[in-house]
């Protein structure tokens, strides 16, 4: 483009648009019979509040980038995808009202998104009532399909059980003679769930492990001096945390300054925020095979394409990686696309919502984070492998890098279909294939 740099920007834009139009026209397949002029989908993510930085905004951006890509390739079944982005922030009544607006006022074909577990529990009954295809994309709670059936609801990312079970298995693979563990988790449902899964898994895998402490600072507390002092006094061999975002960065900063990482092995079950620069030696999970770049994942063309597209539009530092929420949102779009394509093939024309939902059940599809199978929750809940790694300082690059990466296969860290996660753990992981 440097050749054109003297032309007016307007002219460049015009030419660019023209080329784009031609390309888009050439690429777009003829829509199937009965197809709507466009496929409207609601995309819900935190655009404000503390969860927007580490999760919401990257997820929204990823969805945007990926929808553009789908449209460049001719849309879904020849129909252009039109996203409507909305903010997830606010109490449940606001989130449900917003869902109803998307369904009844905007008349979207599907809604995807939801990062908060509470919202992932509040929305499904409404989705069933209004018969709107809903793809939950990032939240962690295992209650969604373990407590009820929701014919119109799917979740294309693994629930948080893989993070806890994966953490326990990874800790033991690195540090087999662990004696004592302690937890420091934010005092809310995700913190409680994460700790319950990790702690129970540890007890199953190594029955002589002693739990010395469980600390519950409030969400967004920001000041952890007392907690860190207590952990320094107790010196557990392993400290587990499900902190995320600003809280994780803050905790890591304060802990590092006081040498907590030298006394205990710290394991974090998610990489929403970038603590990469702060805490070498920490074990980190990525809520599925997402942010952490793995050798075999490098061969995945979708992953390469996604990273390139994201980097091009939103920029990404050289040794940086994209937040896991972003991968999850792309997974949702890939699932939606695969379900529609399968349903179109089966119906021979544009499918009804029920036909798409039927096609979605038990579906398998490729994503930038590998192949995803809707294997549990009656075919509505995805299973994925759990990825963990150790942060190590690389003197050659001058930054911290992920090393000793391990993937625990989906069948190793997920319960079989129809079994509740905590029962599965307490019964000693029956049927697990590791």
């Amino acid at each position: 483009m440097s050749r054109h740099s003297r032309m007016g920007p307007a002219l460049i834009a015009l030419v660019g648009l023209f080329i784009l139009f031609i390309l888009a026209g050439a690429a777009r397949a003829a829509p199937v019979a009965g197809a709507p002029p466009e496929l409207k989908i609601g995309v819900v993510a935190f655009l404000s509040g503390p969860a927007s930085g580490p999760f919401g905004i990257p997820s929204r951006n990823a969805a945007e980038v990926w929808i553009d890509k789908i449209n460049r390739e001719g849309g879904i079944g020849g129909v252009k995808v039109v996203p409507i982005f909305t903010d997830e922030a606010g109490p449940a009544d606001k989130v449900v009202t917003e869902f109803r607006r998307l369904a009844l006022d905007e008349k979207v074909a599907a809604v995807m998104g939801y990062i908060s577990s509470a919202n992932c529990l509040a929305v499904p009954p409404v989705a069933d009532e209004l018969k709107v295809l809903t793809i939950e994309s990032d939240c962690g709670t295992d209650r969604v399909f373990e407590e009820a059936k929701h014919p119109y609801v799917f979740r294309t990312n693994s629930h948080t059980v893989i993070d806890g079970v994966g953490a326990a298995r990874y800790v033991l693979s690195i540090h087999p003679d662990v004696k004592t563990i302690a937890g420091i988790n934010q005092d809310y449902a995700w913190g409680r769930d994460s700790w319950a899964v990790f702690q129970r898994s540890m007890r199953q895998l190594k029955p002589d492990v002693q739990v010395v402490d469980a600390l519950w600072p409030k969400l967004f507390a920001g000041e952890y001096s007392a907690e860190i002092s207590k952990l320094l006094v107790e010196k557990p061999s392993v400290i587990f945390t499900s902190f995320w975002g600003g809280d994780l960065v803050t905790f890591a900063g304060q802990a590092k300054a006081r040498g907590l990482f030298d006394e205990s092995l710290v394991v974090v079950n998610n990489t929403g925020a970038d603590i990469k620069d702060i805490a070498p030696g920490v074990l980190i999970g990525s809520r599925g095979p997402n942010g952490i770049v793995t050798p075999d994942m490098e061969k995945n063309p979708l992953r390469k394409e996604f990273i390139a597209l994201y980097r091009q539009k939103y920029g990404l530092a050289k040794n940086d990686y994209i937040a896991h929420g972003a991968y999850h949102y792309v997974q949702a779009l890939q699932g939606l696309r695969a379900a529609y394509e399968k349903a179109i093939k089966a119906a021979g024309r544009w499918p009804t919502t029920e036909q798409v939902a039927a096609a979605f059940e038990g579906l398998e599809f490729d994503t930038p984070s590998g192949r995803v199978a809707m294997a549990i929750g009656g075919g509505h809940q995805a299973v994925q492998p759990a990825g963990y790694a150790v942060l190590k300082y690389d003197p050659a690059l001058g930054v911290n890098v992920f090393s000793e990466i391990r993937m625990f296969p989906a069948k190793c860290v997920n319960p079989p279909d129809g079994m509740k996660s905590l029962d599965w753990i307490d019964r000693g992981f029956p049927g697990a294939q590791c």
């Binding site: 930085g53 920001g222 900063g253």
Partner: protein
Amino acid sequence: MRLLLVVALDGLTYASWLFLVSAGLTFTYGVLRVLNLAHGNLYALGAYLGATLVLRYAATGYTPALAYGLLFVAAVVVGLVVGPLIERVFLRRVYSRDEEVQLLLTFSISLILEDVVKLTWGVNPVFAEMPYSYLGRVRLGGINYAWYPFLLTAIALAVGGLLWLVVTRTRLGKVLASVIADREVSLTLGINVPRVYTWAFAAGAVLAALGGALTAPMFSLAPGVGAEVLVTSFAVIAIGGLGSIGGAALGSLIVGLARSAAVYFFPELDLFAIYLIMALVLLFRPQGLFGEIEVRRI
């Protein structure tokens, strides 16, 4: 014994932080009788500006020692620009209105500033931890402590002492006392009350921003930090008595010690320890520990 020492140290450093972030709120209320709900946003502005300055400065590679000065610069800039702006343009127009209108005005400013911060600094966590780690650590009671929280304790003592000196030992303090006691009489005495209000509000804003700027090396900043701080400092000054600097200090100390004790002995209580104390204190001493009973006028 060693455990008690650790609990006391943690409580003390947390109390220092609480005092720094709540002193501005109680000072403003003391002089203007307005509870400034935008206090948390001034805190956030100070914190973000402080973090930005420090990060920029750190990138130049000069001696880190000067970064501490930048935190004060950030606080003064925010306080002296935004403080008078809020007071002169908005607050001044509602002094004659009901108390709830004044509260709502600061509430709406808080909503606006919340998004101003988001539009300026984005939503990604900002963390300028360099001044925190640069001071290194010290071994006390058998475990490592960072020096920085003790620096905060020293600054908190200095700020508290300075405020006390100004209020009790200077002419300015007498002027303030007169304005607080009776606005009209002060006017007839030739005191420029509007100007006192502007400066008092600005001073409160500087204190709020200073609390934020000094926090920036300890906590990472994310959208919504202001609201958290507002509610916490609310509770602290309600315990100590609204408008009382000594009360804020005592309130901070009580809450700080209670929280660090809770972490050690009842980790499940951490979440609402502060509100429980506040409810208890207000029930038995409604005006707070150091608050004055207001004269009822017929």
